[in-house]
């Protein structure tokens, strides 16, 4: 590994731009609108303002576990190991495929795609917006510049600007003031507040669902050339299945986030002056007030819906305005609506169709989990009103998508845009009052509702919707502290993939297994998917509760 790390040195100061994400409230499906929102603190002013990071980060964040405080000055002096893990870089580099995001493009699959697509996937902006770091986020594709050396690095997600990188470990009066700085102020320094589920979900969805405004668009052409199908994005499950270089603040090992830990750092009065400090500063509620992963599931579902709606709106608007004479991209529709073996008798004909038979619908998973979250939110006062608007808005999208093969572009653009605006509203309201929404009993209700959806004929017919709901269910049960027993999970796992990825995440050489390693078996399972078998096995989980 040494040589690999060595060659990273020197990249720390490479100027890079910022992934312009989470511009909340921006419904525009149009291409990146020039300079971006005025003074967005996450967008670097100039290349001098940015750094990609890993070589710099590893100076402090590359420790081996378990941390031995005696040998670590930050742990000794500032108890940093109680605030963060300190081995983040090592985990990312040795286990996390994000570190190989660009490298994979030159592997055989990448070579095949280059051959079939007739452009170089290692240099094309179409690929690099997700597989590298876009240092010119406001530039049009042909003028973009990228840093490709380390794939998707630390600061690609945490914030590319230098100020926060210099500030976050600054000492004052033997403490580090950064730790109790309000998120808004940290953001002004250029740190993306990934502790905020809505911010995090929007960032991840930018690549894992897509974002036309940032030129992060997966196309059917890419899929046909071999790009593995993007799995449905479920924030909490992706968090759980990513080699974690972070600790949840509700985890008692991170003592900083306990009243005692905070008092030791900031003084006994701090908590009195900031009674809601967990939310205010770190965007979480203590475990006895809220199930952290329940909020992640709900937020992730709505943020994914929003990302997909924006992708569809952008595509449809382009078609409607004759900017894209080639029509809607097939990749915006449900892959499995077309890609299935035909059988006699046919499950699909027995089940019936959402609209006219033979018209490809939108991806089923995109609306399945949001539907459950919204149904549940009807019982949550801050969200109840907004929740009632979901049904009609989704119905309009659905109708526009099915009124003719591959949708009615003008109508689809309008309806998808309205749906995305609704998502903004829902996410805003779910964080507005800083109060817990998902205490344990509410999280259990949400879990039960996901279980009902996962076994309802409406969703079990679609393998991706069934898988997405399964992921949310399994993850949330773990989050509630009542994990699905291994034996039942294994049983269910014979009918549908129950996780995004499985451990081990790395081989014996400390190289992360590429994301693709598990995709072949997963796709094979989806091909053999039988809704009856799945439903039976899933019911066994429900019975066990």
């Amino acid at each position: 590994m040494t040589s690999r790390l060595d060659r990273r040195v020197g990249f720390a100061t490479v100027a890079v731009g910022l992934l312009a994400v989470f511009v909340a409230g921006s419904p525009s499906p149009a291409h990146n609108p020039g300079p971006g929102p005025a003074k967005d603190p996450l967008i670097p002013a100039s290349p001098d303002d940015v750094s990609t990071g890993f070589a710099g980060c590893r100076a402090c964040h590359n420790e081996k576990y378990p941390i031995e405080p005696k040998g670590n000055p930050f742990a000794t002096k500032y108890k940093s190991h109680q605030f963060v893990l300190l081995g983040e870089g090592r985990t990312w580099n040795e286990q996390d495929p994000h570190s190989r995001a660009h490298e994979v493009l030159s592997k055989p699959l990448g070579q095949q795609m280059t051959r079939l697509l007739k452009y170089d996937v290692t240099t094309s902006p179409r690929c690099l917006t997700c597989h590298a770091i876009d240092v010119t986020p406001t530039a049009p594709p042909e003028k973009k510049q990228f840093v490709t050396a380390d794939g998707v690095t630390c600061n690609a997600c945490h914030g590319l600007r230098k100020p926060w990188q210099q500030e976050h470990y600054a000492e004052k009066n033997k403490t580090i003031p950064w730790r109790t700085m309000p998120p808004g102020k940290k953001e002004a320094y250029g740190l993306r507040n990934l502790r905020d589920p809505a911010v995090k979900a929007a960032l991840c969805a930018g690549c894992h669902v897509g974002s036309a405004a940032e030129d992060k668009v997966i196309t059917h052409e890419m899929y046909a050339a071999g790009h593995p199908p993007l799995p449905p994005f479920e924030l909490a499950t992706f968090m759980e299945c990513q080699p974690k270089h972070w600790g949840y603040p509700v985890n008692p090992d991170l003592k900083f986030f306990t009243p005692e830990g905070l008092a030791a750092h900031a003084g006994a009065d701090f908590a009195t002056a900031h009674p809601n400090w967990t939310w205010e500063l770190y965007r979480f509620h203590p475990a006895d007030q809220e199930v952290l992963l329940a909020r992640s599931v709900a937020t992730g579902a709505i943020a994914s819906l929003r990302a997909e709606m924006r992708m569809i709106a952008a595509d449809a608007a382009g078609v409607a305005n004759d900017l894209r004479p080639d029509g809607m991209d097939y990749a915006r529709f449900d892959c499995y609506a077309c890609h299935h073996d035909l059988k006699v008798p046919s499950d699909r004909q027995a089940r019936g169709y959402e609209g006219k038979p033979g018209r490809p619908p939108l991806k089923a998973w995109v609306a399945a989990l949001p539907g459950v979250v919204v149904e549940h939110a009807a019982g949550l006062p801050p969200l109840a009103d907004t929740a009632t608007e979901f049904g009609p808005k989704w119905e309009a999208v659905r109708k526009a998508a099915l009124s003719r093969p591959f949708g009615d572009p003008p109508e689809l653009a309008r309806a998808a845009d309205e749906m995305a605006v609704w998502c903004d509203e829902f996410l805003k309201k779910s964080e507005a009052d800083g109060k817990p929404l998902y205490p344990k009993e509410k999280a259990r209700d949400l879990l039960a509702a996901i279980g009902r959806a996962a076994t309802s004929a409406k969703w079990t017919a679609d393998p991706e919707a069934a898988m997405h709901l399964t992921w949310a269910y399994v993850t949330l049960r773990g989050g509630i502290g009542e994990p699905v027993p291994d034996i039942k999970l294994k049983d269910l796992g014979a009918t549908i993939p129950v996780r995004v990825r499985f451990e081990p995440y790395a081989n014996e050489n400390g190289e992360p297994y590429p994301a693709g390693v598990q995709i072949g078996p997963r796709l094979d399972l989806l091909r053999k998917y039988q809704s009856m078998d799945f439903t039976t096995k899933f019911r066994a989980l429900l019975g066990g509760k």
Binding site: K107, P108, L109, Q111, Q112, R115, L116, L117, T219, H220, E221, M222, Y223, A224, A225, G226, H227, P228, P229, V319, P325, D326, G327, M328, D329, Y330, C335, C338, H339, H340, D341, L342, K343, V344, P345, S346, R348, Q349, G352, Y353, K356, P357, G358, R359, P360, R404, P405, F406, G516, I519, G520, L523, D524, L526, R527, K528
Partner: protein, 501 residues
């Protein structure tokens, strides 16, 4: 010239000259008149009558299945038999509209019970499942009866057994509402009206998704279908019949498919809201209806379609247009070139512009209608030419060399010069298989060139749809295009050697 084991091809006789380039002993046909239109297009004019007018014991209802004079008996199903006794499936065409499958299709197409029209009263279904029975319940109940294929008999019923009838040309008979099925072009045009579709009849993707079987018409395959109890015998027996039927079938089916596309596109161009566009069934079925579960990683699988790097010219992820009808039908002129050595001045039908437009995700309907209309005209000229050749009953004697060349064009066309599969789409490969099988059967079920049968069987095996218990797959789940390279290469090799061509 020896004619043993030869294939006989129908070509025009008028103006035939003895002697062609390179073979002074062979007859050569005239160049086709490229402005021609074949007779037999569309439904014949006239008033339809029930088959009772045909089924008198002394006429076609002799009661002895399979015998001349018992055509109606052979066609008819024994309604008292259950399960259905052998018969002509056309006799069941109307009755299937009452079965569970039809009911389910109707429900899926119109979920609202109040607005639902049962299949047996739905004009879309009736357009093919019965012929001529709009006003006559008896005619309707017969499904696809005598008149459906032979034409409405009002203008010929009382004359078609008189000597004067025999003096009429096929063209004149057609003018009286009679379909001259002895002419293969007229016959297949009539079949294709339903089995492919056309301006007034069609099966679109909505209907297929609701449960209607895919239409994949290939004349020789249908003609020799085992459960098709035929009520006639060919006047021109093997060896010539099957190859003629195959070539004509390809061209006619393509003509029907392109005309259907033209009609669809023209309706959409006029903003007809009831015509779906893009029409999904214009694309290759199994290009979409294949699992994406195939491991996309080339290091582990080098033989998937993706790993093959097929040199087709489509953009990655584009859907091939109509490979079933256009893969070989579009090359009709090439077969003609083999069968008729002097092909100078004969322009092949170029489907490239139409194909290019149709392989866009959102083809321009007006442009498609225009291009398809032009292709139909060109195809009609070809068909008129073949039709005349059929009528004149003068055939080119096909030499063993030509039989071999036909095999070389069909098998060799599957491959690129450097031995790759030129087009991996199942439809395209299956059509080549059927063409090679037609040449084989035309040769009396024997190898036209030594070693023909082995690779043919190999292709057939690779193309088969699997079964899974009681379920039947209706798509080529296990089809591996790479496996077809070896048999095609073998066939190309055996048909290339010794000819010196």
């Amino acid at each position: 010239m020896r004619i043993v084991g030869c294939l006989i091809l129908g070509v025009a006789v008028a103006g035939w000259a003895v002697g062609g380039p390179g073979d002074p002993g062979r007859l050569t046909p005239p160049r086709p008149d490229l402005s021609g239109t074949p007779y037999g297009l569309g439904k014949p004019a006239g008033v339809y009558a029930a088959a009772t007018s045909c089924s008198a014991a002394a006429c076609h209802g002799g009661g002895q299945v399979g015998r001349v004079g018992s055509e109606h008996t052979t066609w008819a199903a024994d309604l008292s038999a259950g399960p259905a006794a052998p018969h002509d499936p056309h006799a069941r065409a109307y009755r299937v509209l009452f079965n569970d499958a039809s009911r389910r299709m109707t429900e899926l197409l119109e979920p609202n019970a109040a607005g639902r029209v049962p299949a047996h009263r739905n004009a879309l279904c009736l357009a093919c499942h019965m012929v001529g029975g709009e006003k006559d319940e008896t005619v309707r109940a017969e499904g696809v009866g005598c008149a459906a294929c032979h034409g409405p008999s009002a203008n010929w019923l009382t004359t078609h057994y008189l000597p004067e009838w025999k003096g009429l040309s096929h063209h004149e008979k057609w003018g009286r509402g009679f379909v001259p099925t002895k002419n293969l072009v007229a016959r297949v045009l009539n079949c294709a009206g339903c089995h492919v579709g056309g301006a007034d009849r069609e099966v679109n993707h909505d209907l297929i998704a609701a449960g209607h079987p895919r239409l994949a018409f290939e004349y020789t395959r249908f003609h020799y279908q085992q459960d098709y109890r035929k009520h006639w015998e060919e006047r021109t027996p093997q060896p010539d019949f099957e190859v003629r039927a195959w070539v004509i079938g390809q061209a006619v089916s393509l003509r029907a498919a392109v005309d259907l596309l033209r009609a669809r596109a023209a309706r959409v161009a006029k903003n007809d809201p009831s015509t779906p566009w893009p029409e999904v069934s214009e694309g290759s079925c199994y290009s979409c209806h294949q699992s994406i579960a195939r491991d996309p990683f080339p290091e582990s699988r080098k033989d998937t379609p993706r790993g093959l790097a097929s040199p087709h010219s489509r953009a990655s992820g584009a859907v091939p247009w109509q490979p079933w009808y256009s893969s070989l039908g579009g090359s009709a002129s090439e077969y003609h070139g083999i069968l008729v050595p002097d092909r100078s001045g004969v322009a092949p039908v170029d489907l490239t512009p139409l194909r290019k437009e149709m392989e866009k995700r959102n083809p321009n309907p007006a442009e498609v209608a225009r291009l398809a209309g032009r292709a139909v005209e060109e195809l009609d000229a070809w068909l008129a030419f073949w039709q005349t050749a059929e009528d004149t009953q003068t055939f080119v004697r096909l030499s063993p060399d030509q039989s071999r060349d036909l095999g070389r064009v069909i098998a060799g066309g599957a491959l690129t010069a450097d031995g790759k599969l030129a087009e991996y789409d199942w439809d395209s490969v299956a059509q080549r298989y059927l063409g090679l099988a037609a040449v084989y059967h035309a040769n009396g079920g024997a190898d036209p060139v030594a070693g023909w049968r082995g690779p043919l069987d190999q292709l057939r095996k690779g193309l088969a749809f699997p079964r899974s218990g009681a379920d039947r797959f209706d798509s080529p789940r296990d089809y591996r295009p790479a496996d077809t390279v070896a048999p095609f290469t073998r066939l190309r090799t055996i048909t290339t050697s010794r000819t010196g061509r």
